[in-house]
């Protein structure tokens, strides 16, 4: 595929190097060696940090040379990715927002209601145009999942927290 995701995605090697730097920073607060084993808790962290920075730098060189990040094909439903490689911003942001919703809702509203919102959001990101049906479907699915997994011994929190906890 000729059409790459972005011509020069500098932030990817930067992210790898950044993670390596965090590792190294964390390692400075740990002992590199101890009398008992010769190896302290920090040594392995240091090694990984250095490895990440080296690998990130190598990736940076690849990016600078314009090496293509070949798109993965074949793994996606309905072949839809193959003929178009453009990122659609609207669905992308909606999907991300829907996945962030549990962070706000889960503890306050409980599993079934959260499931309803997430379900409707994801379905819309994938092009569904029946929000009411989706919300109801999600609520039913969430409710059924709650009871089914509860029966199997999985705790999914209170059903409707705002009812039970005043």
């Amino acid at each position: 595929m000729n059409d790459r995701v972005a011509p020069r995605p500098w932030w990817v090697p930067a992210g790898v190097i950044g993670f390596g730097a965090v590792m190294l920073y964390g390692a400075t607060q740990l002992g590199q060696s101890d009398a008992h084993s010769g190896v302290g808790p920090g040594l392995f962290v240091t090694i990984i940090g250095i490895a990440l920075i080296l690998l990130g730098t190598a990736l940076g060189v690849q990016v600078a040379r314009g090496v293509a990040f070949t798109s993965t094909e074949g793994a996606d439903a309905y072949d839809e990715v193959d003929d178009e490689d453009r990122t659609h911003r609207g669905p992308l942001l909606l999907a991300i927002a829907s996945l962030a919703a549990p962070l706000v809702l889960m503890q306050a509203a409980g599993f079934p209601l959260t499931a309803a919102v997430v379900f409707a959001g994801i379905a819309r990101a994938f092009g569904s145009r029946r929000p009411v049906v989706d919300i109801l479907t999600g609520a039913v699915l969430g409710g059924v999942a709650w009871f089914f997994f509860n029966w199997l011994g999985v705790n999914l929190g209170p059903f409707l927290p705002w009812l039970t906890e005043r």
Binding site: V5, L30, G38, V45, A75, Q107, V118, G127, G153
Partner: protein, 508 residues
């Protein structure tokens, strides 16, 4: 006790009614989830992990065995009917199988895949029953430095084998290793890289990383590719059974696929990609109808599918005997073992013989159950694929939420899921393989432990790491794997550089 006695004893465990029921529920749930597009065996096990929390270890692992085979069967169904392999092992199946389905031979493709999986799974499990105890005896002579060398070899081969680019594979491994050190250091009790967060003390849960990278990241990615262009599902037609001709063309590929799959699966870095590719290539070469390849040759389904299942049995050998996971699926199984406080390795065969042999016996049963249940039920699973795409993916997210929120109803886990999902999306976008992250995450702490143990014995002298023939050989191999490909590429560059086979990375 001989292997046979132990195995019979294992059947005694597996045939207990409750365990039979678990194997049944496992293969049913495994197929149901595994048939969903983009969901492979590893993700299926991760999503169903909370279900097993209230079970005895033996029952839980018997259920996992059912889930594993069910998910693999479900995956091949999706590959054939929808052309959406959920894991790298079924990519080759999709290649020919989907062509067969488009030509109205979907039922025969499903049948040859199912029977081939059964044949390969049974032979593979049989081989596992005899190879694993022998390897576990062998594994007793492994010292910490040998284990460490083995894991280093595993890291390097995984970087090279999984994905399109060794560099991106290595970065994925390193990211996994980095995530793995977060939390309390098992040996000194110091907290590492938690930056004061209490939630990070327990480390990054493996299940969450798996679910987020594979399911959440994938869903964001697919959503971002824009609205659906309906490819449609290929209806099942042409009868459920195979013709005489199909049988004649299938049985040899089944056996050849098995012969390729199991031994490669046993290798410390085997996985299921290489044997399925090899099997496909072999069948294409040996076929009397090579012109049919690419447009629905049944050998191209029978061989790789058998190789995939035989490799799945082979992968259990290093997992059970050395504690070494070589695929995302065995990594999640390893984390399940650890969840029960069990560490796979040679001692497992001694201390938990009942569990190990129960598990092996249930592999036979799960395999048998699948062919009895799923050949007739194929039509029902196909109906699951007719759920419209928006609702299907939305439903998968709800399952992922159950898998993560059900772990400990912790808000931090949700945050982690969100963050890892974004990471998974970025990795998907820039074609980083996700499986090495998981293997790095779970194997990293084990490698570190062996490293520190080896250096403690030698009182800090690093020469100890290459002091035994095993460790020196394994580290030498690891070095070759890193250095040889660029060297060969350099040499090959002079006569017009050969085209590198593009292998895409589907989520498992």
């Amino acid at each position: 006790m001989s292997t046979l006695d132990l195995l019979l004893h294992g059947f005694g465990v597996a045939f207990q009614p409750v365990n039979l029921l678990m194997a049944f529920i496992g293969s049913l749930l495994g197929t149901a989830i595994g048939v969903l597009p983009g969901i492979g065996p590893a993700l299926t096990i991760a999503l169903l992990m909370p279900v097993t929390t209230s079970l005895e270890p033996a029952s839980a692992f018997i259920m996992f065995a059912g889930i594993l085979y069910g998910a693999m069967y479900g995956g091949s169904t999706t590959s054939i009917l929808l052309n959406t392999p959920g894991e790298s092992g079924s990519m080759m199946t999709a290649l020919e199988g989907n062509q067969m389905a488009r030509r109205g031979r979907g039922a025969a493709a499903l049948a040859t895949a199912a029977i081939g999986s059964f044949v390969a799974g049974t032979i593979g499990t049989l081989a596992l029953s005899f190879v694993a105890p022998a390897v576990s005896e062998l594994a007793f002579i492994f010292g910490p430095e040998d284990y460490f060398a083995l894991m280093v070899l595993s890291f390097t081969t995984i970087s090279v084998v999984l994905g399109n680019s060794p560099l991106r594979g290595a970065i994925a491994v390193a990211v996994g290793l980095g995530l793995g050190v977060i939390g309390i250091d098992a040996q000194t009790g110091q907290s590492r890289l938690t930056f004061g967060s209490l939630d990070l003390l327990d480390g990054i849960p493996f299940t969450i990383v798996l679910v987020s990278l594979f399911a959440v990241g994938e869903i964001i990615y697919v959503a971002s590719r824009g609205p659906e262009r309906d490819g449609g599902i290929n209806p099942l037609s042409g009868g459920i059974w195979m013709t005489r001709e199909d049988w004649k063309r299938s049985w040899k590929p089944w056996l050849r696929g098995t012969a390729l799959g199991f031994p490669i699966g046993v290798l410390p870095a085997g996985g299921s990609e290489i044997p399925t590719f090899l099997s496909y290539a072999v069948e294409k070469r040996l076929s009397k109808h090579p012109e049919e390849f690419g447009s629905g040759a049944i050998e191209g389904v029978a061989g790789p599918e058998a190789a995939n299942n035989a490799a799945a049995a082979g992968i259990l050998v290093p997992l059970l005997t050395l504690g070494l996971p070589t695929s995302a699926t065995s990594a999640i199984l390893l984390s399940a073992f650890q969840g029960y406080g069990l560490q796979p390795g040679p001692l497992l065969f001694v201390n938990n013989a009942e569990l190990v042999w129960g598990l092996i016996a249930s592999l036979y049963i799960g395999n048998f159950m699948l062919i009895v249940l799923n050949l007739p039920l194929a039509g029902m699973w196909v109906r699951l694929l007719m759920i419209p795409r928006p609702q299907l993916y939305a439903g998968i997210v709800i399952f992922a939420l159950v898998g993560v929120w059900g772990l400990s109803t912790s808000w931090f886990d949700l945050l982690l899921m969100f963050a890892m999902g974004l990471l998974g999306y970025a990795m998907r976008l820039y074609d980083f393989p996700a499986a090495p992250v998981l293997i790095g995450l779970i194997l990293g702490p084990m490698a570190e432990q062996q490293l520190r143990r080896a250096l403690a014995i030698s009182q800090g002298d690093p020469v100890a790491l290459v002091s035994t023939p095993i460790s020196a050989t394994l580290l030498g191999l690891a070095l070759c794997i890193v250095l040889l490909p660029p060297l060969l590429r350099h040499l090959a560059r002079r006569p017009a550089g050969g085209e590198r086979r593009a292998v895409s990375r589907p989520a498992p």
